[in-house]
Symmetry: C2
Subunit: 425 residues, 2 copies
């Protein structure tokens, strides 16, 4: 059996997972790749550190990028630079590249795929979005006969863990975040997760593949979960809904909608039952109908599973001499729709004076913006105030903003607790 | 752009769906296939029948199989013969073959893949199992770094529709089946669905791919849903479970378990929320962890989506001159475990005389077979009888059979209503 040398850029969580899975399942992997896959070297920051992996290490990227015996480079470092430079150099050195780097692809996918095509090399990236879920392969190969109209995902495990614990245990955001940090489910700096940035990067990649048009990280409207309270979750339950951080991409006649924000989701929606750190991606296409993929979105082994399936594919392609046939699949340039034109239903929870005609005035503010209500929950409160939760029928963001500014200026308003978008189906 | 001619063997529900999706999304499909895909001819039974599809038809299979201008044959007839002969002839005539035929593959996959390899041709079959769910591609390409340990599926839409209606509306099997037949969700002869045979054929294919070993339809233990009653569904609910027709394949140290039968499933299991005609396949692998695919398992358009993604892949391979590289992936021959050694928990519901020591005797029968109970529900009944529902801890089928024969011979037994297996996680 011929051999195929891979170089690992990075030997952290994912790189260590790749080495571990290769050590355990190497014989099967080699049989399926039809060649002998060996880790020739792994790029690390500290050569002297003791490691569990039985892999040669180096601190010099040229030991991998300039080594003509390395045919496949797996970039597992994360971050934009120097990952971008290394990936481009590997492609120019006629190596296949496998990457799990969402930060990089959400900004530079077009450049990387152009350089891959110019050099006739493969670039695979299953590990970049929702590790244990083969959604990238499905988009690139299985849904190709479809006009995909929407992609809706729970694609950040940390925030889903936090929202699940808040929902099932009635606890507060801060307490659950602290616990998640102690369990290693959340970083000590949790901003990228809880602010929705990680999900937005992944969504840019998914939307690019789904709609065959470039979508970049800065195109995505982002709102995180730091403002979600137990009270909102309790109201959602009364409305037959759960709150999830959703990543939503839609192809509309006015352009592409791409957004990450918390949303009230019907309890019967397939995404509503996705708990803890699990991820799921729900796809609608004109032929396939509704399809959903569910699995572990992160972690050493699920991501290694994705990375190694890419390595096996890249190795098979090189052995057959057919690398470089997988493009990014752009075949059009659709506009990104302005956020003010995005359509949603909205949940708004507020405290007003408990007086006659107050509700009529509220209703009027929304009617003036051409918005009607789907659900209303009103509860009497102490101190002459009433708490009201409203759910609107679908409207544009600009309409909701108009109604909201009237509400904000209303003399009988005590407080707007929260506004959260609502997904209806 | 070069052109690629396909021949359709069959222009029924699936063939018509393929023609319809090609007509609607042809421009995108051609761009993604990098060639112009045309239906050169479709094999039909009646040439004179009026059809919606704008496709040349023939009643002579040689018009497709012997036409050197047809590069890809899509076999969409179903049944073993003459489909098997046509597929083999197409491969020997150096054509790529796409098939949606589970009956054929569940019996003759090895022969077909051997002939494909001998002739250097592709054989793709995404449409054969759970149409809108790309589980075949995932097994063949995305999970390749894993040791897959189990596959659990809801892979028959008709029975899932029936069980969902029984569960949610409290109706009886016969009434719901009748309704399903009127809606076109069940055939006028529903045996293949309600007896579990359709699911068993699909499971044989999934197990073959998951465990890289041949598994045939007759290897699968099959039990249908005709014996499930509303009372069982109600007891399941009290136990926090729902009843689903599950297709289960497990790799154990004693060999491969493959079985289709109704089972009580915890309400929180991802498969428990799969409703109506939807299908889902739950896969466990040592690296990826738990992964689930959900979607429409049948119907003209979802199956056409699967068939056409295969056609696009086959066309790309032919254009690159690399067809025939996808094997069935057998790399071992694992034994099929004898059914008596399959392990399950069991639910048993029975009516006994409501007398002292009756329950102690029942418990003894199970204890003698080394089986203990996980749950017990006892309800007083009129006429001096009691109804009891028991759930055992996991045991072998042979142990359960031993206990059951003691129960059957017990003088205080009035009736065994049902026994159903239980899935614990």
């Amino acid at each position: 059996m011929s051999s195929m040398n891979i170089g690992l850029l990075g030997l952290g969580t994912v790189g260590g997972g790749v080495a571990a899975v290769l050590a355990k399942n190497g014989a099967d992997i080699n049989r399926r790749a039809e060649c002998d896959i060996r880790v020739k070297a792994a790029l690390v920051l500290d050569e002297t550190k003791k490691r569990a992996e039985n892999v040669p290490v180096t601190t010099n990227p040229a030991d991998i990028l300039a080594d003509k015996d390395v045919q496949i480079v797996a970039e597992l470092m994360g971050g934009v630079e120097p990952a971008r430079s290394y990936v481009l150099e590997a492609l120019r050195s006629k190596k296949s590249v496998v990457t799990a780097n969402k930060d990089l692809l959400a900004l530079h996918a077009e450049e990387i795929f152009r350089v891959a095509a110019e050099n006739g090399q493969d670039i695979y990236f299953e590990g970049a979005v929702a590790g244990g879920i083969p959604i990238i392969a499905a988009m690139r190969a299985s849904f190709t006969a479809n006009d995909i109209t929407s992609v809706t995902g729970i694609i950040n495990g940390t925030t889903n863990y936090i929202l699940t614990a808040m929902t099932e245990q009635g606890r507060d955001f801060a307490a659950v975040l602290h616990e998640a940090q102690e369990l290693g489910y959340a970083e000590s700096d949790p901003a990228a997760d809880v602010e929705g940035l990680d999900a937005a990067r992944k969504l840019a990649i998914l939307a690019t593949l789904a709609f065959h048009t470039p979508v970049l990280f800065p195109d995505v409207y982002v709102e995180g979960i730091t403002g979600i309270t137990s009270a909102d979750i309790e109201y959602a339950r009364e409305l037959g809904r759960v709150i999830k951080l959703l990543a939503i991409a839609r192809k509309t006649e006015e352009g592409v909608e791409v957004r990450v924000h918390p949303a009230l989701l019907p309890e019967r929606h397939p995404l509503a039952t996705v708990r803890d750190v699990f991820n799921a991606v729900y796809v609608e296409g004109d032929a396939l109908g509704e399809s959903m993929f569910y699995g572990r979105g992160a972690g050493a082994l699920p991501t290694a599973s994705a990375v190694l399936s890419d390595v096996i594919q890249a190795a098979r392609n090189r052995n057959a001499g057919v690398q470089g046939r997988q493009g990014l699949g752009h075949d059009r340039r659709l506009p990104i729709k302005p956020v003010r034109d995005y359509r949603s239903s909205f949940y708004i929870r507020l405290k007003v004076k408990d007086e006659p005609r107050v509700f009529a005035s509220l209703a009027l503010f929304f009617a003036e913006a051409d918005i009607s209500f789907a659900s209303i929950i009103q509860k009497p409160r102490s101190g002459g105030n009433a708490e009201i939760a409203l759910v609107t029928h679908p409207c544009r963001e600009s309409q909701f903003e108009q109604a909201l500014s009237s509400v904000r200026a209303y003399s009988k308003l005590e407080k707007i607790y929260n506004t959260i978008r609502v997904l209806n189906d």
